[in-house]
């Protein structure tokens, strides 16, 4: 029996994967390369698949038909909504934080 999934992107790898899939389906290796390109973060393969497992269980991403050994993943509508909410929250916090830094 799988553990109950958490309510939001619980950790950075999940957020990074959702962001990577936001512009189209990708397989594991492409996700790793994309994340490294846009964020500079170098995820380990184990960390990547732990996060992918959680995201699939939450139905925020779904696997598509495999191409060779690799299987592309696609973000779902629920995943996209969650990513959008998470990024809006982050932007709000960032705006407030940066604004206060300028005031200080």
């Amino acid at each position: 029996m799988a553990r109950k999934p958490q309510a939001g992107p619980a950790s950075d790898p999940e957020l990074l994967i959702l962001s990577s899939l936001a512009n189209g389906a990708k397989h594991g290796y492409a996700i790793l390369s994309d994340i490294e390109t846009f964020s500079g973060a170098r995820l380990g393969a184990g960390t990547l698949y732990t996060a992918i497992t959680r995201l699939v269980e939450k139905r925020w991403i779904v696997p598509e038909a495999p191409s060779g050994r690799q299987r592309p993943y696609r973000i779902t509508a629920a995943g996209a909504a969650c990513l959008e909410q998470q990024l809006r929250d982050m932007r709000r916090v960032a705006t407030i934080g940066l604004g206060r830094l300028r005031l200080a």
Partner: protein, 219 residues
């Protein structure tokens, strides 16, 4: 080089639960084969596999595997230091020990908590006990083919009074009986019903706990 890497990848993939491996194993293997397998990458995969084991692995394997490693370590220590009585002696009556009953209870309890409808706590505890105790049968086999000598100590015996050469294992019997190899060989199987009882008691406790917590939630 590629063959060694393929072998390493297949070994580390075995650390994941079988159901997880069926779903994601091939993809992960593909990525690991393409990337450099340094210590950091290996540690990352081991950490991920441990997490998946704790999340979806079978409780009897999760608890049984460290106990098996502990048992093998005790046996190795016993053979390397056969006369450090009584710390490194192996008890030939493990059912009289808390270390036998506690894992059986825990496996039974965890099995039911993880899968209240379909979990079989007695069966899971038996599997765990068998996984943990098969090295005892191995001792009997090694002794039967003459690789290992078996010395049995009872209450009051002092290790210093026994002298032996070569590879020797020191067993302990509460009644001071000499150890016969066939009973030693079948000991893990003989202990299975006791493990089943321990597992069922653990399962019963878990079901009671679930009933209490669900009653509280209804209120």
């Amino acid at each position: 080089m590629n063959a060694i890497k393929r072998w390493t990848v297949s070994v580390i993939l075995r650390l994941y639960p079988a159901s997880w491996r069926r779903e994601y194993g091939e993809e992960l293997a593909g990525i690991l084969m393409d990337k450099r397998l340094g210590p950091a990458a290996l540690l990352d995969v081991v950490r991920s596999a441990t997490g998946q084991q704790l999340r979806i692995g079978e409780p009897w394997q999760i608890l049984g595997t460290p106990l098996l490693v502990l048992n093998l370590a005790i046996i190795a220590w016993n053979i390397l230091n056969p006369w450090t009585y009584p710390d490194s002696t192996l008890d030939v009556s493990p059912t009289q020990r808390l270390l036998f009953w506690l894992p059986a209870l825990c496996v039974g309890c965890w099995t039911v908590l993880r899968n209240p409808e379909q979990g079989h706590p007695g069966r899971a505890a038996m599997k765990s006990a068998l996984l943990t105790s098969w090295p005892v049968s191995l001792i009997a086999v090694l002794a039967a083919i003459g690789i290992l000598s078996v010395v049995t100590l009872g209450p009051g015996d002092l290790s210093g009074t026994v002298t032996h050469h070569g590879l020797t294992i020191t067993l302990y019997d509460r009644l001071g009986r000499p150890t016969h190899l066939f009973p030693l060989f079948v000991l893990p199987i003989f202990n299975l019903p006791f493990a089943a009882v321990g597992g069922c008691v653990g399962g019963l406790l878990a079901r009671m706990w679930l009933r209490i917590t669900s009653a509280k939630m209804v209120k």
